[in-house]
Amino acid sequence: MTINELQLALPEIFVLSMACVVLLADLFISDERRGLTHLLAVLTLVFATILTLRVMLPPGEVLYAFSGTFIRDRFGDVLKVFSYIILAGVFVYAKHYLRQFNLFKGEFYTLSLFALLGIMVMISAGNMITIYLGLELLALSTYALVALDRDSRFGSEAAMKYFILGSLASGLLLYGMSLIYGATGSLDLATISAALGDGMGDSMLLTFGLVFVVIGIAFKLGAVPFHMWVPDVYHGAPLAITLFISSVPKLAGLALAIRLLDNGLIGLHGDWQGMLVVLAALSLVLGNVIAIAQTNIKRMLAYSTISHMGFMLMGILAGTPEGYAAAMFYAIAYAITSAGAFAVVIMMSIDGREADQIDDYKGLARRNPWQAFLMLMMLFSLAGIPVFIGFFAKWQVIAAALQAGFVGLSVLAVLAAVAGAFYYLRIVKLMYFDEPDQEAPVSAPVDFRAVLTINGVAVLALGVFSGGLISLCVSAFV
C-alpha cells in the first residue's frame, strides 16, 4: 500500500471519516440545533465532490489500487459525483419531511453516509469481495433506514421484509460468486475476465454461477420476477427513505451490473444477455401494467421504478459501450427525476399524514402552480415525452437494444411506455383538470423549494441540452 493508492481512495476515506464524525458530533448537538448535523452531512458531500473531481481521469484511463480490488476510472468518477449531488438534494428534501414527522435525528445522516460509502465502494470495485462489501454496507444501512420510524408498524414490516429478502439475494449472489471462483480460481474481476477469455473453467459451473449472480443483480435492481420487495418497501418506508431508495442506489445497481457482467463476465455475454432480455421484458410489462391499478402514489412509483429498471436493462444487455453509456444515462436521468417526483410527494405531506393517495394531488395546479408545473415536468419525463431528460434516456436504450438486434423487445418497450403514460397522465389530470378540495397553498421551506426548482429545471435543461451529459456518459466507456 502506497500513499498514491490511498490518494486514489481519498473520497471513500473522507466519507468514512465524516460518517463517523457526524455520528459522534450528533451526540453533542441538541434537538433544536439538529440543523448543524444536516449542514455537516451536506458539507461532506460538497467536499467529497471536490475530492473526486480533483483527480478526474481522462477517458479511457483506469488506475488500480490495493492489488486491483479498487478501481478508479471515469465511469466510477461520474457516477460518484452524481451520487453526491443527488444525495445532497435528498438530504434537503428529507430534512423537511423528518422535521414534520418527528424523525429529525442524526442517525438518518450517519446511515445515509454509510450507505453512500457502500455505493462508492461498489462503484469502484475491482474484486468480487469489494463488490460484496459495498453491497452489504449499502443494504444494511438501508434496512435500518427503512425502520427509522420504529413505532410505525408498516415501517418495521417493510424493513423486516426487505431484510429477509435482501439477505436471501445477497446469499444467492455470494453463492454465484463462489461458483465462479471455483471455475476460474480468482475473485479478481480482471483475472476472471482474462480466464474466461482463455476458455478456462467448467462451463456448467460458470453457467450456474452466472445465474445466481444475475439473480442477485436483478434483486438489487428490482427487476421482475425479483421485484416483490419493491412496492412493499416503497410503501412501508417513511417517505424520506423511499425517496432515498428510489434515487441514489439505482446508480449503485447500475455499477453492480456493469462491474460484474462487463468487467468480469463479459466472456459469458451470450448467456447473460438472454437472461437480461427476459428480465427486461417482464419488468417493462408487469411494472407498467400493475402501476395502472395503483391508487397509492408510493406503490405507483414503485411499479414505475420496476418498469424503468427494465428500460435500463435494455441498455446493459446490449453489452456494447454504447449500450452501457445509454444505461448510465438512464440511471442518472431516472435518479434525478424520481428524486424530484418524491420531493413533491413530501411537500404535500403535511399535518402528520403522508400524501400517498393520488387523490391528494387534486387541483394542485390551483394551490401551488409552480410546484405542480415542476411535477408535471417530472411526470412527462418519466413517461418519456420529449423534450425532457426521460425521453433522451429512453431513445438511447432503445437504440442500444435495436443495435443488438432486439427489435421485438424494442417494440415491447415502446408499447409499455405508452401504457405507462396513462398513469403518469392520471396524476397530471388530477393536478390540472380537477378542482382542489381546499384552496390554501401547501408551504415548504425556502431551501426545499429552491432545490425542487433546480431539480425540475434540470429535468428540462438536461433534456434540451442533453448533448453534454450524453458525451460524458459515452466518454466513460471509451
Binding site: F380, I385, I398, V407, V411, V414, A421, V428, K429, F433
Partner: protein, 503 residues
C-alpha cells in the same frame, strides 16, 4: 435580412413569450392579451419576411441553420424550409394570430391559456422547419403536452376522456416512428432527413418502415380507422383548441407523409399505395355519410375534416398509379400539389367553421344543431360569412375548397376512373351535410327565444371572419402564389420518388 436566423426566431419567439406570459401573467393580468397578440403579430410578420425572401425557383432547402446538438450521435439542430414546409409555416403563424384574437374572452387563467397556444405554435413551426429526424420527433411529440393541457383544462364536460384519448392515440402512433428512425440511423449513421432521403434500403425493410411511419401519421391526419380520437377531441376542446387542431395539427400528418414516407421509403410507398388509397376512399365516402348523421355541429365539422383529409392522403399516393399508367413523371405532381393545396385550404376553412361555431357557442352555449334555427334573421352578417365557409367546405368553385379537391379528382382520373368516381362523391356528400347544416341552423323561422336574442358580430369577430373569408376566396380565385411556392419542391419530390432505393 438573410443573415438573421429567421426560422429560429419563428420557433423560439413564441416559446419565450409563452414562458414570459406564464411567469408574469398573474402579476400583470392586463398585459397578458396584448402581449400575446403582439407576439403572434410579430411572428406572422417574420413569416411574411420568410416568404418574401423565399426563392420559389429551387427545391433546395433555404434559410438553413445548423448547430451541433448531440455530438455523440451526430444530431444537429438543423432547420430549413422548402416549398412544402413554407406554406404550412405561414398557415401556422396566421392561425396563431387568429387564435389569440379568438381567445380574447377566456376568463379562466387566460395567461396560461395563451401561453399554451404560443408554446404550441413554436413547437409546430419547429416541426415544420426541422431537417433532423430526431429534432422533428422531439417537436412532434412535445406538442402533445400543451394540447393535452388545453383540452383538459379549458375543454367541455367530457374533456378528460377526450384529452387522454387524444394523447394516448398520438403517443401510440408515434413511438413506432421513433423505432423506425433509430433503425434508419443505425443503418445509415445519420439522422439528417436529407441523408435519409438518399439512404438505400431493401424492400422488406422499407415496408416495415413505411408501416411504422404510416401508423404515426395516420393517427395524426387522422385516417380511417384510427380517427376516433378526433371527434372527441374536437367536440371537447375550447374553440381555439379546435381551430388549431383542425387547421394545423392535422396537417402534420400530411406533412409527415411528404417529408418522410414518400421520399425515404418510395418503393414501399409504391408497393402499398393501394392500402393508403383504399383507406382514403373509405374516409372520403364512409365518413362523409357519418358526417351527415351528426346532430352536434362540432362533431359534424370533425367528421367533415376526416373526410377532407382523405383527399390529402389520396392525392399524395396517386402519383405512383399515374406513373404506372402513363409512364410519365410530368403529370404525377398534380395529385401532390392538390393535396398540399387541400391542406392549406382545409386549414382556412375548418378553422373558420370552428370559429363560426365558437361565435354561436359563446352566445347560446350549445353545439346542438337543434338548438338553433333562423340565425340569419338575427345575425345577418354572421350568417353571410358562415354560409360562405360552409359553401367552401362543400367545394364551391371560387373558394379554396374547390381548388384542392378539383386537382385531386383530376389526378385520380389519370390513375383510375373508379378512384375518381368515389372521390367525387364527396362533392355530393360534402354539399349535403354542409348545406343541410346551413339550412337547419341559419335559415327558416327563428327557432327559439335564445336565437331571437342573438346579437350580430362584435368587432373582434369581424376581424376573424373577414380575414378568413379573404383567404378562402383569395386562394379560390387566384391559387397561383400558393402553387408557385411549392411547384419546384413538388416536382423534385415526384422525380425522387419514382427512383428505386433498393440496391
Amino acid at each position: 435580412m438573410s443573415e438573421w436566423p429567421l426560422l429560429s426566431l419563428l420557433v423560439w419567439l413564441p416559446i419565450a413569450a409563452a414562458v414570459g406570459l406564464a411567469v408574469l401573467g398573474p402579476r400583470q393580468p392586463g398585459l397578458v392579451r396584448p402581449m400575446a397578440l403582439i407576439t403572434t403579430l410579430v411572428t406572422f410578420v417574420l413569416s411574411l419576411l420568410l416568404w418574401s425572401g423565399f426563392d420559389a425557383g429551387t427545391a433546395a432547402m433555404q434559410f438553413e441553420e445548423r448547430l451541433v446538438w448531440i455530438a455523440a450521435f451526430d444530431i444537429h439542430y438543423h432547420l430549413g424550409i422548402d416549398g412544402l414546409s413554407l406554406p404550412l409555416i405561414l398557415l401556422t403563424t396566421l392561425i396563431g394570430v387568429l387564435i389569440v384574437i379568438g381567445g380574447w374572452q377566456i376568463s379562466d387563467r387566460p395567461h396560461l391559456y395563451l401561453a399554451a397556444f404560443l408554446l404550441l405554435q413554436g413547437l409546430m413551426t419547429g416541426m415544420f422547419a426541422a431537417l433532423d429526424a430526431l429534432l422533428f420527433y422531439v417537436f412532434f411529440e412535445a406538442m402533445l403536452v400543451p394540447m393535452f393541457l388545453i383540452i383538459g383544462i379549458w375543454g367541455g364536460p367530457n374533456r378528460i376522456y377526450a384529452t387522454i384519448k387524444f394523447f394516448l392515440f398520438t403517443f401510440f402512433g408515434s413511438v413506432f416512428m421513433l423505432i423506425a428512425l433509430i433503425w434508419l440511423y443505425l443503418q445509415g449513421g445519420s439522422f439528417a432527413i436529407l441523408d435519409l432521403h438518399q439512404q438505400a434500403i431493401d424492400l422488406n425493410a422499407q415496408i416495415w418502415i413505411f408501416l411504422a411511419f404510416l401508423i404515426a401519421f395516420a393517427v395524426k391526419i387522422p385516417m380511417w380507422p384510427v380517427h376516433t380520437w378526433l371527434p372527441d377531441a374536437h367536440v371537447e376542446a375550447p374553440t381555439g383548441g379546435s381551430v388549431v387542431l383542425a387547421a394545423v395539427m392535422l396537417k402534420i400528418g400530411g406533412y409527415g407523409l411528404v417529408r418522410f414516407s414518400l421520399p425515404i421509403v418510395p418503393d414501399a410507398a409504391a408497393a402499398l399505395d393501394w392500402l393508403v388509397i383504399g383507406l382514403s376512399l373509405v374516409a372520403i365516402a364512409y365518413i362523409g355519410f357519418v358526417a351527415l348523421a351528426q346532430s352536434d355541429m362540432k362533431k359534424l365539422i370533425a367528421y367533415s375534416s376526416i373526410s377532407h383529409m382523405g383527399f390529402v392522403t389520396l392525392g399524395l399516393f396517386l402519383a405512383f398509379a399515374i406513373v404506372r399508367n402513363t409512364g410519365e413523371v410530368t403529370g404525377a405532381g398534380l395529385g401532390i400539389s392538390g393535396a398540399m393545396v387541400q391542406m392549406i385550404s382545409h386549414g382556412f376553412i375548418s378553422g373558420a367553421m370552428f370559429l363560426a361555431v365558437g361565435v354561436l357557442y359563446d352566445r347560446v352555449h350549445s353545439r346542438e344543431i337543434s338548438s338553433y334555427g333562423g340565425v340569419a334573421n338575427t345575425m345577418p352578417w354572421f350568417a353571410m360569412f358562415a354560409v360562405l365557409f360552409f359553401m367552401a367546405n362543400a367545394g364551391l368553385p371560387g373558394t379554396s375548397g374547390f381548388v384542392g379537391e378539383f386537382m385531386v379528382i383530376l389526378a385520380a382520373f389519370h390513375a383510375n376512373f373508379w378512384f375518381a368516381f368515389v372521390a367525387a362523391t364527396t362533392l355530393l356528400l360534402g354539399a349535403a351535410y354542409s348545406l343541410w347544416l346551413v339550412k337547419r341552423v341559419f335559415y327558416g323561422e327563428v327557432g327559439n327565444s335564445a336565437v331571437a336574442a342573438l346579437k350580430d358580430l362584435t368587432g373582434r369577430e369581424w376581424t376573424l371572419m373577414v380575414t378568413l373569408a379573404v383567404l378562402v376566396l383569395g386562394v379560390g380565385i387566384w391559387p397561383f402564389p400558393l402553387l408557385h411556392m411549392m411547384e419546384a419542391s413538388v416536382q423534385n419530390l415526384v422525380e425522387h420518388i419514382v427512383l428505386t432505393k433498393v440496391e
